[in-house]
Structure formats: C-alpha cells, structure tokens
C-alpha cells in the first residue's frame, strides 16, 4: 500500500502505530493522528456521500469546520455517534468508523440518482413538491424522504455512557489556544486571577502547530509554545481544558463548554464520564477563535481531493502527511502560496498555482519561480473532473469579456483558498455587533454586548505577530514588541461567484457542502423573490444545521449580494446560533438522567408502602401509593376492597404530601381573612375549618383544612400539588400588599408526617396510644384540632374526614412518621386495618361529593359553579377574589356548574374528560354542554358514580344528559354530588 507519510515532517511524536477500521477495512495510523489525517496517509480521500444528492465527498479541511467528512463513529452498541467530523476525531487503537448517506455501498449508491435528476431537487423543492395530494405525505413522501435524506440513522439503544457537569467561575475565560489565546493566558495569569483556557483540539497551539518555520524572539515558535504551556500548567490559577468546545455564549458571560474525556481512549474506564459540561461564568471573556479558510465556488468543487490549502499545509506540517502527489492550487489569496511552497519543499509536485487575481505580489512569484512552480494569474478553475477523486481540472484565463477557452491540467489534489473568514460565531452568540471589512471581504467584531474582547484572526488581525500582540494586550500584559518571523502573506481578494464559460444552469458549484446548496440555488431563491438573507438561508438551507455556515456563509452572502445587486453590508448576515459544533444530548443532560432526571420526593412512610407492594403514581414531584394490590388483584379489585374495608372498619392512608403552612403572628387571623373566602376571626382555638382560596380573578385556586392552634397560630393545609404556589401567593400579598401585617409564613409540609385513619374503628385504634387529648365525641368533635402526644411523641391531631367516615389526621414529626405508622398498623390488625392509596381516597371523597381542585375545577370554576357558596364569608368586606365574584361574566346565567351524574346503566363507568350533550339525536358536530370531571366504580353503592361540569347543571336536576362515546351514547341522570350518607351521620360513630 502506498503511504503518504513524509518522514521528518509533522509535530515531534513517538511514532506509535495504531490500527483502526473505516467502512470495515483495517488501516494503520500513528498515535496523534486524527481519523482524517490517518485516512489521508493511507491515500483514502473518498469518505462519504453528501446529504441530498449523495455525491461522493472527501476531506475538505483539517478542523471542526469540516462540512464533508462526516462519519458514524462506532464505540459499540448504543455508542454510535453520527456526523462526527473525521478531522476532529482523535485516532486510537481499535477506532471504528463508517461513512454515511449511501445505500448499498459507498462506491455504489443507488440514491446517487438524486444527483442525476437534480433538476428535480432545486432550492425549496420539498416545500414546493410534496404539497399535494395531502394523503401522499404520510404514505409516500415522508417515508421516501426519510430513507433518502438525513444524516445517518438515529441510534435505537439507550446511551450507556454517563456524563458530568460543573459550574466554573473565573476572572478570564480564553476561548482558543492558538498563539493569541496562549499569549492572552500567559498575560492574564500573571496576577492571581483565575484563568480558564479552552481549545477544541487535543493539542494546544492552534495555527502554530502547522507553522514549523515560524520564530518568536529568535527561537523556534514551537519552543515558545512548549515553554508557554509549561508556564501555564505550573500556575495554580490556570485551568487548561483541551478537547473542549465552547459551544455557546449566553447572557452575562455565561458560556457552555463541552469537554470530551474518553472518546479518544482505546479502553476507557467505564467509571469515567464520557464528557463534562462546564457552565462557566467569567468576569471577562477573550475570544481567540481564529479564522476559517474559505473554499472557492466553481463547478464540481466538491470532488474528493479538493481541499482547503491551509488544511493541506496542516496535514503536512502537523501530521507529516502528504495529501497527494500532484497538487494544483486555486486561490484568490496570498496564504495559499505558502501552502504550495511547503508542499513543494516536501517533494509534492505542484501542477500550477491558478490565481484569479490580476496582480500577485512579486515576492510570491519569485518564490514560486525558485521552486519551478508555474503561476497562472488572472485565471480561474471552471471545473473538476473525476469519479471518486479529482483527476484533472479545467482552467480558463479571465478576459476583459468573459473567459478564454478552457485548458485541462492533470492533478490528484486541488487546494483552494478564497480568503479567510474570522470565526465570529461566539461573538455573535453574545450579541456583539459586526462590521463589514471590505479589504478582508468579511465581517469582523464591532461593538461588544458583554465584557468580551476578540483577539487575533477572529478579530481580523491576521498573522502571528498580531495574534501575539493582541492576545497579550487583551490579557492585560505590557506591550512588548516581539520579533516574529513568519512566512505568511495576508493579502487577498474576495470573489464570491467566479467567472465561467459554462452554462450556469447545468453545473453544480457548491456553496454549502454539508447541506448540498449550490450557487444556482441561491440565485434561484433571489429570483423567486427572497430578498432577506435570513429567508434565503431558510429557503436554500445554506448555513443551517450543525455546520452553522462555517465555510459557506460568506460565499453564499457574496452570491446573494451579486444576485440582488446590493453590497454585502446591505444584505446583512444570518444569525449564528449555538451550538458552535454538534453537542451531545448526553453532555447537556449531565447528571439529569436515570434516577436523577428529576427529584422524586418520597414520604417517610414510602419504605413501608414499598414493602407492602404498593403501586405508585407521581403527584407533582411526589410519588404516592396509588393502591395496594393483593395477589391476583388488579387496580379495580384492590380499590373496591380498600373502600369497603375503610367504610366497614378501618383504613390507613399516608397524607404526608398535603401542603402545610404555619401562619403565625398577632395578625394571623386578619391575614387568613384576606386570603381565604371563609371567615376566620371567630374560629375558636382547637377548631378546624375547611378553607377555600381564590385567585384575584374569582376562580378557585386551592383548598384545605385549617386548624387554629392558638390565637396567633394557624396550621393551614393545601393540596399536594398546590403547596408551592399557595405559599408563594400568600408571600406575594403579604410582602407587597400588606407589609404592615405582623404575620409570618413557614412551610411545614415536610415537618410533619400525616397518617390519616378513616373508618368506624379509627378512634378505638388510637385511643391507647394518645396522651393528653380527650378523644371522646364531646371533648373532641368533628373538625377539632388538638396538640398532645401519640406513642410518646408530640402530635397535632386533627379530627377531620375526607371520606365521610370517622376520621383522624395524625401529624407527627417526620423522622418518627415511619415508626409510628408501623406501630399503628400492627395494632390495627384486630380491626382488619387496610392501607389504601390515592385511588381509594378519590373514590371515598367522590362518594361524598368533595371536590379535588384541579380535577373537578380547572381554573375557570367559581365557588358558586362548584356549589360551594356556603364557603364564602358574606359579611367580609374583602378577600382575594371577592370583587371578581361580581364580574358580569361570573354572575351571568349559563355557567357550567358541578353536578352529580348517575348512569342509566349502573355498571357503566363514564370516561373522565368525556363530553356531554343535552340530547342524543343531534347532527354532528353536536353542541357540547359540559364534561365529566370525576368518575368511579363505587363498591359501597354497588354502582358507578360521576361528577361533571354542566351548563346550568343545577337546574337540570332529575333530567337526563348524554355522553357520546365510541360505539354508544350513554344516558345519565343529573343529581346531587353527594352520593353517600348525605346527612353525615357516619362521622358521629361512637
């Protein structure tokens, strides 16, 4: 096999051979290579197919701007990463990668036919074509597009890796460890300031790594780099982050950094995280992100073997790899000459330098002549020929009118350079403004929006000397003039579209390689009336997706500007968006996956419920026991049993999740009066009352039982899900409307475990355990609250009932919750004590017509709608929501009211959420008059029960309404919401 390694070239390294596999074939590379450099060293240029036309593609660049060489990186099952740039993939022993976008093989791709019929696939093709007939979308178009297009198949297995993240803080964050970034870091870290310097590559040095000849202060630049990095490493205040991409720049100098930790390792420790997300808050940011070389736009400029000139230079000088044997150069900029000279000096034949410019620096011409390189000024490449690799190019001279006849030149590589584009992506994320610099043909940073400064090439300051100077000065260093020796010329012209003698409608000159957008597409978009560059971008897809226009933006802009006959600076620039390069979902999720995806709040009694075989359900962040199935039981059987046992003897229920707020202070009852609809002033100490809370717009917000423990102390309960918003609304009124009140609110939800006992034997169970409270019916009536002891531990004991049975809610300090629950449960065996969950709790309360806020109400239900006008303290002058109860819409007729429903067929359980109509025979669409809010099988009543919100529902008592369901329309009778024990006698069992 031919090798393209050049001895004596490249960064000094141990020549350790590593084996890797690409498209199933084994190759050898050298440690320190990227996948791209290793493939090139093996003479492999064809590495993939393009996105839309499935054209053969090679390696365009040597960095993260790569738009062609996107591969599937395979680290084993569940570990396939798509669209990885071969140019950024560090080689290791056993690395496996595959090319993408072909079927059945890379060299024989049936879908390449897209290319032949490309007249069918112009810009906006999908938008225009797949419009009609509509049904074809589901059956024909979408499946076809999904198979033919796309950037590789999404993985189907869960991600087996784990990721980590951290908040970092620093005084100075430097993005990019090229010469400018390192100079900035050296200067900034001389004080005690915390400095973070990050670079996307494994090795720090940036462009310096491709410049073996450069010298700084008389010494080789690589030596300056070595000692500079050593200094940085020795400083405690400096953090060096290699393989770290700063992918996004957010408000107030908050930046996202994705650090790759194990992807470059042959056998990573499975305990190690794969990547780390650094969420950095920096006092100051220095952007030293460099510049990206621009390709040239001509026919078939996407053939493998066509590559950016500086990248060929990088492959040679950094990796010791020749990209070909016979290279032609096509340029509009001086820098490509230096690349040509470097290649020539490494014994690569230079077929010719084709320069579109009329005049070229004579010093460059001289240097070329010395090496015997032919320079063709005022000439352009108008085509490239070859199947999977460029074989020859078509060259024309530019004439006063048009171009000359073409001449063919043989080459196996064509190096292109259309100038340089400063990498202003991050600057733009930060909302810094840009200005057009016509001599560079590029936008450069103008006014910052954050404490940020751009240095070196990303600021349009080209050359090593300027990089070092601007870097050091941004880092706060003293201005010291360095003596710098460098080869590079930094002059060039920008052409955008190049002249050609060919029919432009018949050629494909690519602007955006990744999205397969040609110059023709952009011109078409303009012809079709898209004048804003943002619209051109969306219509053609140029500069979109993972590439973010790194190599294509300015060429596309130039072409649009020509087509619109308006200067570039008036055409504007599209918006750069994070991420700068593709970022894994894994690293963004960090530790927020698996069992720490979110908080799961568990009550103190949860371990008991687990051991009792409970089935759980999430209620806001809590997990609650839903029911306790015994062997062979489904939910319905379990709930029927739990309901029956509770009504007949004794049920035990974990009510800990109820929100609880302690309202304390001399003005506590005044505050309660203002927050709740009910009157509180006359509620005696030791008494409870059901409280109803409205929003200021008059709709029900929350409810719960409130106990008065002392004149100045209320124990307020809320719904489970409503607890945070109730407390926050209370605090809002207290702090901002009534700061004069002497009252304070404390969340005590988690202070107390709450054990609810319901059933005729509830009192009998707790009597032996309670000290200091007379539990008799007279001393401790329904809706009483007492403080005392249970099992020797302090308790707030409430006699309340959400089931209609004799009930107690036993509040005990949370850390004792489990142990007291166990004790009561053991003692309750003689009463057939039955644990029940939220499902049974729902049925028991529905049998009694008690509402659940958020189920029987939906944010548009007033107290009157819910049949709860009794809860309003009519004598009170004001409370939150009172005035709204007089609003015209709320006093109008025709509101939906909460009613009970009994189906004509007692065995039929209605669907919650089902719509209700007044008569069954209507034409479709029927007029809907309400919906079912709660519906259950009631074991106690031996039939189904339901509640519903129905228009003017209370006036329909005794009448039938209808619930159309698939297959049948169900008849039900409107009645009271109280289905069981309407007199409330069950509460008074002795």
């Amino acid at each position: 096999m031919t090798t393209f390694r050049r001895q004596g070239r490249g960064r000094p390294r141990q020549e350790k051979t590593v084996r890797f596999s690409f498209d199933g074939k084994e190759y050898a590379g050298v440690e320190g290579d990227t996948l791209a450099s290793a493939l090139l060293a093996n003479g492999v240029h064809l590495v993939g197919r393009s996105f839309k036309y499935h054209r053969p593609r090679g390696i365009l660049s040597a960095g993260s701007e790569e738009a062609n060489a996107l591969v599937a990186f395979d680290r084993g099952p569940g570990r396939v990463t798509l669209n990885v740039r071969a140019t950024t993939l560090d080689l290791y022993e056993g690395l496996t990668a595959r090319s993408q976008n072909y079927w059945p093989s890379l060299k024989f791709d049936i879908t390449e036919i897209n290319d032949k019929f490309s007249a069918l696939f112009p810009a906006g093709f999908y938008n225009k074509t797949f419009m009609w007939p509509k049904s074809f979308w589901d059956w024909v178009y979408e499946p076809f597009i999904r198979r033919a297009a796309g950037l590789g198949p999404a993985p189907s297995e869960p991600d087996p890796d784990h990721y980590t993240s951290a908040y970092d803080h620093c005084e100075v964050l430097i993005v990019g460890a090229g010469p400018a970034g390192i100079a900035a870091a050296l200067a900034a870290s001389e004080s005690s300031a915390r400095v973070i310097i990050a670079d996307e590559q494994a090795e720090f040095g940036g462009s310096l790594l491709s410049m073996p000849e450069a010298a700084i202060d008389g010494a080789p630049a690589w030596q300056w780099l070595e000692s500079g990095l050593e200094t940085l490493r020795s400083r405690d205040n400096v953090t060096l982050l290699p393989r770290t991409t700063v992918f996004g720049y957010y408000h107030d100098n908050f930046l996202g950094l994705a650090q790759s930790l194990t992807d470059h390792m042959s056998e990573p420790d499975p305990k190690e995280p794969r990547e780390c997300l650094h969420k950095v808050r920096a006092a100051k940011v220095i952007l030293a992100t460099g510049a990206i070389e621009r390709p040239l736009v001509f026919a078939d400029n996407d053939l493998p073997g066509i590559m950016l000139a500086s990248s060929a230079q990088t492959y040679l000088n950094r990796y010791g790899v020749a990209v070909g044997d016979n290279a032609a150069i096509f340029t509009t900029h001086d820098s490509a000459y230096i690349a040509a000279f470097d290649l020539s000096d490494a014994n690569i034949r230079i077929a010719a330098i084709i320069d579109a410019r009329a005049t070229v620096d004579t010093r460059l011409i001289e240097e070329a002549k010395k090496r015997g390189i032919e320079v063709r000024a005022e000439s352009v490449v108008t085509g490239a020929v070859g199947r999977f690799r460029v074989k020859r190019i078509r060259v024309n001279r530019v004439l006063a009118s048009g171009v000359s006849a073409p001449e063919m030149i043989d080459c196996d590589t064509l190096l292109v350079c259309g100038g340089w584009t400063p990498s202003v992506h991050l600057w733009s994320h930060s909302k810094g403004t840009l200005k057009w610099k016509s001599e560079l043909g590029a936008y450069v940073p103008d006014r910052p929006n954050e404490n940020v400064i751009c240095v070196g090439a990303c600021n349009g300051e080209f050359g090593l000397k300027r990089a070092l100077e601007t870097g050091a000065s941004a880092g706060g260093g003293a201005a010291r003039l360095l003596e710098v020796k460098e080869d590079c010329g930094w002059s060039g012209e920008v052409f955008g579209a190049l002249p050609t003698d060919r029919n432009e409608t018949r050629i494909k000159a690519f602007v955006d390689f990744q999205n397969d957008v040609t110059a023709k597409d952009i011109k078409l978009a303009v012809r079709e009336g898209f004048k804003s560059i943002e619209h051109v971008k969306r219509y053609t897809t140029a500069g979109m997706a993972t590439d973010q226009g790194k190599t294509s933006n300015l060429n596309g802009l130039q072409i649009a500007s020509n087509a619109l006959a308006r200067p570039v600076e008036q055409v504007g620039l599209t918006t750069f968006r994070p991420p700068y390069t593709p970022t894994t979902f894994g690293v963004l999720a960090g530790a927020q996956s698996g069992d720490t995806f979110d908080v799961t709040r568990k009550t103190p009694i949860d371990p008991w419920a687990v051991s009792a075989g409970a089935v759980f359900e999430p209620v806001s962040l809590w997990r609650r026991a839903r029911y306790f199935p015994q062997t062979g039981e489904d939910m319905y059987a379990a709930v029927a049993r739990e309901c029956k046992a509770t009504r007949e003897s004794l049920g035990i229920f974990d009510a800990t999740t109820l929100g609880k707020v302690e309202v304390v202070g001399p003005d506590a009852s005044e505050f309660m009066n203002r927050m709740y609809t009910n009157p509180w002033a006359k509620l005696g100490v030791g008494r409870c009352r059901y409280g109803l809370m409205l929003r200021e717009d008059g709709y029900i917000m929350d409810d719960g039982v409130v106990g008065r423990l002392a004149n100045d102390r209320f124990h307020v309960t809320t719904t489970t899900g409503g607890a945070p918003r109730v407390l926050s609304m209370m605090e809002d009124y207290l702090q901002t409307e009534w700061p004069d009140l002497d009252v304070w609110l404390t969340s005590i939800t988690e202070q107390w475990a709450v054990i609810a006992l319901n059933g005729p034997n509830a009192r009998k169970l707790i009597e032996p355990f309670v000290d200091g409270i007379d539990l008799s019916q007279e001393a401790f009536p329904h809706m009483a609250a007492r403080e005392g002891r249970i099992c020797g531990i302090e308790t707030r004991l409430f006699r309340v009932s959400f089931s209609g049975e004799l009930g107690f809610e036993i509040n005990v300090p949370a850390h004792y919750g489990l142990t007291i629950w166990r004790k009561l449960y053991e003692a309750g065996r003689e009463f057939n004590i039955t644990p029940y969950g939220t499902e049974t709790m729902h049925v028991l309360r529905a049998e009694k017509g008690f509402i659940i806020v958020g189920q029987d109400t939906d944010g548009t239900v007033t107290p009157d709608d819910a049949g709860m006008s009794w809860a309003i303290g009519n004598k009170k002058l004001d409370f939150v929501g009172k005035r709204s109860l007089e609003r015209p819409d709320i006093v109008a007729n025709g509101r939906k009211q909460l009613v009970g429903l009994l189906t004509a067929d007692p065995n039929f359980v209605l669907e919650e959420g089902a719509q209700i109509v007044a008569s069954p025979g209507q034409a479709i669409p029927m007029k809907m008059v309400g919906h079912v809010t709660s519906s259950y099988w009631s074991e106690t009543l031996g039939r189904s029960i339901a509640m519903a919100l129905v228009k003017d529902g209370r006036s329909l008592e005794g009448e039938s309404i209808y619930v159309p369901m698939p297959g049948a329309t169900i008849e039900a009778k409107v009645g009271s919401t109280v289905f069981y024990d309407p007199e409330g006698e069950r509460l008074n069992v002795i």
Binding site: Y250, H251, D252, F254, K279, R281, K431, N449, E696, D697, S728, E731, D732, Y733, Q735, T736, E737, P739, L877, D878, K882, R883, S884, E886, R887, P888
Partner: protein, 100 residues
C-alpha cells in the same frame, strides 16, 4: 442564564434562584368593592407589555425569598436596575445611571 442583583441580598445571583412575577407598580385597590367592572378589569387583566424599559417583579425564591422590582429592557433582555418593594418607580434617568 442572566445574573440578577437582589436588592435585599445586595448581590448578583444566577437566574435559577429567581422567579418572574409579572408587571410591577400595580397596586391592589384599597377597596375593590368601590371599583366599576371596567376599573376592576383594568386592574386584573390589562398589562403594558412594554417594548424597551419594563418595570417588573421578581422573587428571589431560592434565596432570601423576597419579592422585589426590576427595570428590564425587553429588547436587549438586560436588567438595568433592581430595587426593593415599596420603593418609588425610578425615572428613566435614574435607570440609566444605575445601569452604568
């Protein structure tokens, strides 16, 4: 994630500690019963939705738990100044001064 200066803590703190709480300087009427339906609707529902400087409320929910006021530019999303509940609405000049 923006930084917000809590006027009670007197510190810049990350946005995740705060919760937005709507437009500022809308006081609950002393006696709502005296308001016409239109006046009450105005208080309940009508908001400025300003382009540019917007006076709004935040609460340092995961900090000192205080509600406070902020002047924020809704175009740039920059919080220009923050001040305690009950303090008068600052003028445009005072905001410009504070934003420095």
């Amino acid at each position: 994630m923006i930084l917000i200066r809590c006027p009670y803590c007197d510190e810049q703190r990350p946005e995740v500690e705060f919760v937005y709480a709507g437009e500022a300087h809308i006081s609950r009427p002393q006696n709502p019963n005296l308001l016409s339906d239109d006046e009450w609707a105005e208080y309940l529902f009508i908001r400025k939705n300003a382009r540019g400087v917007h006076y709004e409320r935040w609460v340092h929910a995961h900090g000192c738990a205080r509600y406070f006021n902020a002047a924020r530019n809704t175009v740039t999303d920059k919080i220009l100044m923050t001040y305690k509940t009950g303090e008068p609405k600052p003028s445009v000049e005072e905001i410009a001064e504070a934003a420095k």
